[in-house]
């Protein structure tokens, strides 16, 4: 209040800039503080049509709460500050909504030591429209992370968040900031906190009970960027085709641990296991969650040959959807849950088909030499990605359902299989042998920004959490 009066009285440019840098009065004492009231604005580029240019330098490690202002910050905090800045830069780059200043430019700008001394002039010289400034401070109970996006021209904060919690997973702060920034600035659902699941032979364990040397495959999960890879199954069996429940708390998959393949549901946070196809005859494969998470579509040979069925997630209310002597396999739900795309070779070759979730109105979608593993994109895109035979290997293709147009995403770099869409439809994960072994990659839906997610062993059949 006093300060604004002073500014109007003095009307000096230098002073005005100083004032703008002051955050809304913040006294240093009480720990659980309210968020500073935020003027919610979006930052645009001054060149029409161009994405805004943001600088996202490393976060500032502050001295621990209660320590002298000039005390050296804790090493753990310094580490977290570095990690958060870098991961945030990666997360924001991933969605391509903002043009990020290259990382190596950051060192040419003097680092801020708090929210109060951001070198706006220097960022302006580098043509930045916005600059992300973040701090990390150790508190009595953990760590406090503050992040603000400043408009470099007006020097006003367009986005401000404060988080407190454990220091253990610094990456999660960055992912959360990225998702909230995309939501606030671009009304975009980011995927920084989503996860992947896939199966891997990386542990080199031998399948038990066979004469031949056969490697076990176990289900793994990881963050969308491949960090925090964790093993879910431990049976030394063949565990494949894992898929996330819509709430990302359960994974359904196919396991051969009983001899014949059965469908299992692992509730990963409770540590419990369900077996909805328990006691069924035949082979049961390729579970696919309905968008509301209450049902599973899957393929089973219980009636003689592979057909698509739907059941409740506890195995009850079983319904058969396909009835013909050909192979019907690989079901995937439309985002609304009203349709199921699947693979059938009833025309002589495997092709993608679609039907109502009641099994009616079955019709062929693709006319490829060979097509499999359809996966439906999220709204607003109305697309089905699939694996198509294009030569000695396979490539990914995307069918636009509205127009019927097909576009190809990979072009013979190894064999490319098992596409799965990110929940915002803007990216895909898939398996490729382009690097030698079978590995999981992500790619933008226009085919750019290829990233390798796994490196250890062979990794197959990714599924992206919703």
């Amino acid at each position: 209040m006093k300060r604004t009066l002073l500014v109007t009285a003095a009307a000096l440019l230098v002073l005005a800039s100083l004032a703008a840098q002051q955050p809304p009065a913040k006294t240093p004492s009480p720990p659980p503080q309210q968020q500073p009231s935020e003027v919610s604005t979006t930052i645009a580029s001054d060149q029409a049509g161009a994405p805004p240019r943001f600088a996202v330098p490393e976060f500032i490690a502050l001295p621990s709460e209660g320590a002298a202002p000039n005390a050296r910050p804790d090493a753990e905090v310094a580490d977290a500050a570095r990690t958060i800045g870098r991961v945030l830069w990666d997360d924001l780059t991933f969605e391509r909504e903002f043009a990020l200043l290259p990382r190596d430019i950051h060192s040419t700008v003097p680092a801020a030591t708090s929210m109060l001394d951001v070198p706006f002039d220097r960022w302006r010289e580098l043509n930045a429209d916005g600059v992300m400034v973040g701090t990390v401070q150790k508190t009595a109970t953990g760590v406090r992370v503050e992040a603000r996006l400043f408009n470099v021209r007006t020097r006003q904060s367009a986005f401000a968040r404060e988080y407190s919690g454990s220091i253990a997973n610094a990456r999660l702060y960055a992912h959360t900031i990225a998702d909230e920034l995309h939501q606030q600035q671009r009304a975009l659902r980011g995927v920084a906190r989503t996860k992947l699941t896939f199966n891997s032979d990386r542990d080199g364990e031998r399948l038990s009970g066979t004469v031949e040397t056969r490697g076990a495959k176990e289900i793994y999960i990881s963050d969308y960027d491949g960090e925090n890879q964790r093993r879910v199954t431990t049976q030394r069996s063949l565990n494949i085709t894992s898929t996330w429940s819509p709430d990302a708390r359960s994974i359904a998959y196919t396991s051969y641990r009983r001899g014949a393949p059965q469908i299992f549901v692992s509730n990963i946070y409770q540590g419990t296991l369900e077996e909805p196809t328990q006691g069924s005859t035949g082979q049961n494969w390729l579970p696919a969650w309905s968008p509301d998470g209450t049902r599973l579509a899957f393929a089973t040979t219980r009636d003689g040959n592979s057909e698509i069925y739907v059941m409740n997630r506890d195995g009850s209310n079983l319904r058969r959807l396909t009835t013909n002597p050909a192979i019907d396999v690989s079901p995937t739900w439309s985002p609304s849950g009203t349709q199921i795309a699947f693979n059938s070779d009833r025309t002589g070759t495997p092709q993608i088909w679609v039907m109502g979730a009641d099994g009616l109105q079955q019709r062929q979608l693709t006319h490829e030499p060979y097509a499999d593993r359809p996966t439906w994109s999220a709204a607003p895109f109305n697309e089905v990605a699939y694996t198509a035979r294009t030569g000695p290997g396979n490539d990914l293709k995307i069918l636009e359902l509205g127009t019927g147009q097909v576009r190809q995403l990979t072009f013979g770099e190894g064999s490319n299989e098992s596409p799965t869409f990110a929940p915002n439809g803007r990216h895909l994960a898939f398996m490729s042998t382009r690097a030698g072994k079978a590995q999981i990659f992500t790619v933008a839906r226009d085919g750019r920004d290829l990233r390798q997610v796994t490196k250890s062993g062979n990794n197959y059949q990714p599924d992206w959490s919703k």
Binding site: V211, I327, P350, Y370, D372, T387, S418
Partner: protein, 195 residues
């Protein structure tokens, strides 16, 4: 002064910990501690008992209804049997579950073996080469195993001796990436699971 307080506290502590030790000692048993002595009474008699029950249980499965010739195959363990299997694999063409004349010959021979050892139960594994997709190959492998099983049933082999499982392209027999390897990987593979 300070010392007496300390020693007083020390005594209190000792007593407290002693009390706790007693209390704990009373509660602890369920928590697995190293049990000092193994139960000594009638160790000899009880030790001889346990092995007896399994024997009558295992006998019925071993019962060979026919006196089989005591040849190498009949006396081999399941693992030995499967390592050098008398049951030949059935090979298939690309993306096909048709039984060629050659494949039928192999299955005719297999049917002979199965008739000779009527106690055998086998699992027919369906396998595919790596060119198809992992998902579709699960179903294709099942179709191959199913066609093989149906053919053996048509030759008079009892259906309940023949199980099928499809491994798709998960377990190639040949690691190569050429037609020679593919041809060996498109197969119905026999595993003897009981005899």
């Amino acid at each position: 002064m300070r010392r007496t307080v300390m020693s007083g506290a020390g005594i209190a502590l000792v007593m407290l910990s002693a009390a706790m030790a007693i209390a704990c000692g009373e509660k602890k048993p369920p928590v697995a501690r190293p049990q000092p002595p193994p139960p000594p009474p009638s160790a000899a008699t009880s030790a001889s008992r346990p092995p007896t029950p399994p024997q009558p249980v295992s006998e019925p499965t071993v019962v060979p209804p026919e006196p089989v010739r005591d040849d190498a195959i009949a006396s081999a363990s399941l693992d030995e049997l499967n390592r050098s299997s008398p049951l030949r694999p059935a090979f298939f063409d690309y993306d096909s579950s048709e039984l060629s004349a050659e494949t039928q010959q192999a299955l005719n021979a297999n049917a002979g073996v199965l008739r000779r050892y009527p106690g055998w139960t086998v699992t027919i594994e369906g396998h595919c080469d790596e060119r198809g997709t992992a998902e579709y190959n699960l179903a294709l492998g099942e179709r191959r195993a199913g066609a093989t099983r149906a053919y053996l049933i048509s030759l008079g082999i009892s259906a309940d001796r023949l199980r099928t499982v499809s491994y798709g392209k998960e377990f190639p027999f040949e690691p190569g990436h050429d037609e020679a390897a593919y041809a060996k990987n498109r197969r119905a593979h026999f595993v003897v699971t009981a005899k």
